[in-house]
C-alpha cells in the first residue's frame, strides 16, 4: 500500500488541483480475439486525447485473481491496503448517509425483507420497496427503545437502511443474519466472540421489537442485518497526504468510505457527469483533491448490457471538456474494479488506468484509452494503492527522499 509514513514525511502543499475520476466497474472484456471491450467500443475522443498526452497502465485493486467489493476497492484507490484496513459495510453505509459512528458505537447495514406466516423469507429485498414507501416504515423503527443504549435508524434508499447502537461495552464482532437465500428465516443475531454477546443480545431484542412493530406491513415485515462494525479510525487525507479533499458521489457507500478517509462530502442532487463536474467547478477553489465517482458504468455492466455500459462511458467523455476547462494539474481516470458486461458482476481483471499531468507526466506510446493499450502502457501493471503517491508526485507535492 501507499507508505503512509513516507507520504507524511515528504508531502508539500501547492496550488495544483488533483482529480481522481472513477468510473465504477470500468474494466471490461472483449468477446473474441481482436474484439473490443466496452471502453474500447465507446466513443471517447477526449479520453483518447488525454491518453495521447499522458500515460497508461493497468491497476490491480487487491491482489491478482481477487474480485473486490466496492468498499475495499475504494480503500485501495485512496491508498489504504484493504487487507490491512478492514472497514465494515455498516460503517461505510451509515457514514455515507451522514450518521455519526464514533468510537465504541456499532453500526449495521440492514435490509427489509418479506416473511411468510412461518417467518421464512420470501423476498430478501422486500419487493424492492420504493423509498417513499420505506420512509414511514423506518419511522416506526425509530420509536423502538432499549434500556442502556441509544439507537439511531436511517433509511439509505428503497429496502436498505442502517442501524447504529451507542452505549457502554458494545462490540461489533457479530455474524451477518442474512441467510443469503429464501425459504428460511433470518438468522438469530449471534456473537462471534464472547465479548460481543451482550451486543448481540441487544440487536436481537431490537430485531424482535422491530418485527413486532412491522407485523402488519405487506412487504417490509422482516429485517436482516450485516456488516456489524465500528469506527475503523482510519488515518485521514489531510494528515497523510497534506490534501484538503472533496468527494463528489451520489451513492451512500462511496460517500461513506470517502468520509472515513477525511473527505468533505459535497452535496448535490442530479446524477450525471455534467452535474458532478459542475459541482467540482463550484467548489474548485475550496479543495485541492476531487474524488469524482460515476456509478452507472458499473450498473450497466451488472445488467450485462455492453452497449449501455459503453454509452455511459461515452457520456462521461462528452462532459469531460467542462472538467478540463478548470485546468487541474493532474487527472487520473480509472475504475475501482472491472465489471465486464459478459460476466454481469465485479471481476478480478486489472483496471485500465490513465494519468494526465501536463509538464510532469512521461508520455508513453499509447494513443487511445482502452484495456489493450493500458496493458502496454508506460506505467505497466501496478497495485491500485500506488495511485495516490503517483498523483501527489505528478502534482509536485512530494519532496525528494534522502539527500
Amino acid at each position: 500500500m501507499a507508505n503512509f509514513d513516507l507520504m507524511r514525511e515528504l508531502h508539500v502543499k501547492n496550488d495544483g488541483k488533483i482529480v481522481l475520476l472513477i468510473m465504477d466497474g470500468l474494466g471490461g472484456l472483449a468477446s473474441a480475439p481482436d474484439g473490443k471491450t466496452e471502453l474500447e467500443a465507446a466513443e471517447t475522443p477526449h479520453l483518447d486525447r488525454l491518453a495521447r498526452e499522458g500515460t497508461l497502465g493497468q491497476v490491480v485493486p487487491i491482489a491478482r485473481g481477487i474480485t473486490p467489493g466496492s468498499g475495499p476497492a475504494h480503500l485501495a484507490l485512496f491508498g489504504y491496503d484493504p487487507l490491512f484496513y478492514d472497514v465494515g459495510r455498516g460503517v461505510m453505509e451509515g457514514s455515507g448517509i451522514g450518521m455519526h459512528i464514533g468510537e465504541g458505537d456499532v453500526a449495521a447495514r440492514a435490509n427489509f425483507c418479506t416473511l411468510d406466516d412461518q417467518g421464512n423469507i420470501t423476498d430478501r429485498r422486500a419487493g424492492r420497496i420504493p423509498t417513499e414507501e420505506a420512509i414511514p416504515v423506518v419511522e416506526k423503527l425509530k420509536q423502538i427503545k432499549l434500556p442502556g443504549v441509544k439507537i439511531d435508524v436511517q433509511l439509505v434508499r428503497e429496502y436498505r437502511f442502517a442501524v447504529v447502537m451507542r452505549g457502554p461495552d458494545l462490540d461489533p464482532d457479530i455474524e451477518d443474519t442474512d441467510p443469503q437465500k429464501t425459504g428460511v428465516p433470518p438468522r438469530k443475531v449471534t456473537a462471534q466472540s464472547p465479548g460481543a454477546e451482550h451486543t448481540a443480545r441487544l440487536f436481537q431484542q431490537w430485531v424482535e421489537a422491530a418485527c413486532e412493530a412491522l407485523k402488519d406491513e405487506p412487504k417490509a415485515n422482516g429485517i436482516t442485518l450485516r456488516g456489524f462494525s465500528t469506527d475503523p479510525k482510519l488515518p485521514k487525507f489531510p494528515e497523510i497526504y497534506g490534501l484538503n479533499p472533496a468527494c463528489i458521489a451520489v451513492y451512500p457507500m462511496y460517500r461513506g468510505v470517502s468520509k472515513l478517509v477525511g473527505m468533505e462530502i459535497l452535496k448535490f442532487e442530479q446524477e450525471s457527469p455534467e452535474a458532478e463536474f459542475t459541482v467540482a467547478r463550484q467548489h474548485w477553489d475550496d479543495y485541492d483533491f476531487f474524488f469524482i465517482h460515476i456509478k452507472k458504468v458499473d450498473s450497466r455492466g451488472e445488467d450485462g448490457d455492453f452497449d449501455a455500459k459503453a454509452e455511459v462511458i461515452a457520456s462521461v467523455d462528452r462532459a469531460l471538456p467542462a472538467l478540463l476547462e478548470l485546468e487541474p494539474a493532474v487527472i487520473a481516470v480509472t475504475g475501482d474494479h472491472s465489471t465486464p458486461s459478459q460476466l454481469r458482476s465485479h471481476s478480478w481483471h486489472p483496471v485500465p488506468f490513465l494519468l494526465w499531468a501536463p509538464g510532469t507526466v512521461r508520455i508513453d506510446a499509447q494513443k487511445v484509452f482502452g484495456e489493450t493499450a493500458c496493458a502496454q502502457g508506460g506505467l505497466g501493471t501496478l497495485p491500485t494503492t500506488d495511485i495516490m503517491p503517483l498523483l501527489l508526485a505528478h502534482a509536485k507535492r512530494l519532496r525528494k527522499y534522502g539527500a
Copy 2:
C-alpha cells in the same frame, strides 16, 4: 505468495476443470537480436491458437535474478512462497517414490559415487550406473541395522536413492556430505546445530556401514547425502483452494512435491505428452485440478540442444488437441523455470506464461506463444505464486472480497 487465508475464505466449488501444464525449463534465449528462442522456433500452432484466444505474461519463480531448483520452483507454481516453505530435497524425493516421511522422521537424498583406494571421489554419479545394476546394491543397504532407529532405503533411479530414518529425537539440521567435486572424499555427516548431533552420528554410522557393505562394488562403492529434511507439514490444496487435485508426472521429485501439497499421484508407465494427456482423460471426472508435468523440455535444455528442446515443445503441441477435447475451463501453460540451451542449465529468466479460459479471460493483443510476446502480454510480469489465484478466478472459483 498466494494469500492462503484469503483463498480459504473465498474459494467455492463448481464443475470447471483446471489444467496446469508445465513444460519443465520452458524459458529460453535467442542468440541474436530478432533471433528466436527454443519456444519461438518450435512449431506450435495449437499453443499459438490458445495465445490468440487467451492472454500472456511472464512469471518470476522466486525473485528476480534467482535461479530456482526444481523443488522451490514447483512450490511457487502451487502458490507456496519457496522462501517461506523450506522443503528439503530428501523429503521431496522420498515422498515422490512413495516413502512415508512422518513427523520427526528424517529423509535424505543419496547418490552412489565411485571412490578410489584413498577414498577420494572419482565419479560423483557412479558412472551413471543403470537402474537394473543399482537394484541389488540398494538391497545390500537395506540389510543395515542401527540400534534405536528404523531405516528405510529405496532406489529412485540409476545412481539416485533416498534414505529415511525413523526414531526418537531425530533432527534434520545436517549439512550435505557431497563435496560437489572429485578428488576429495565425501564429507563427514555433520550437524549444523547441537540438537542434530545425535542424528548426524547415526547417519555417519550408517554411511560407514554402507561403505563396508559396498566395498567390492566396482562403481557404486561410496555414498553422498544431501537435503536432510523432515515432513514440512504444508497446508494442502483441498483445504486452501477447495480443489481435488491430481498429479500426472513421471519423475519422483515432481510426484513428491505434488504429494506434499495434497495431490493424488496418478500412476502410468509411458513417458510422452500423449500418454500423460490420456491419463488426464481416464481420470477426468475424478479430479478438478490436473498438474501435468513434461520433463524432457528441461532435459534437452540441459543437454544444450536447442533443436531437440524445440522439438519436445512441438511434440507437446502436437498432442494438445487431445487435452483440449476434454474442454477444461482453464488451461495455464508455463514452466517451473527457464533452461536456455545456450546456458545448459536452469536460469533466472522469467518464464513464458499462457492463460486460456473461454468466457472469462481478458484477451490481449498477442498472437503467438513465445518469450517476446509474453513480455508484452496483458498480464504483465508477475510472481509465479500468483498463478494459483488467477486459475481459481478464471474458473469462477473465488467469491468477491468484501461488499
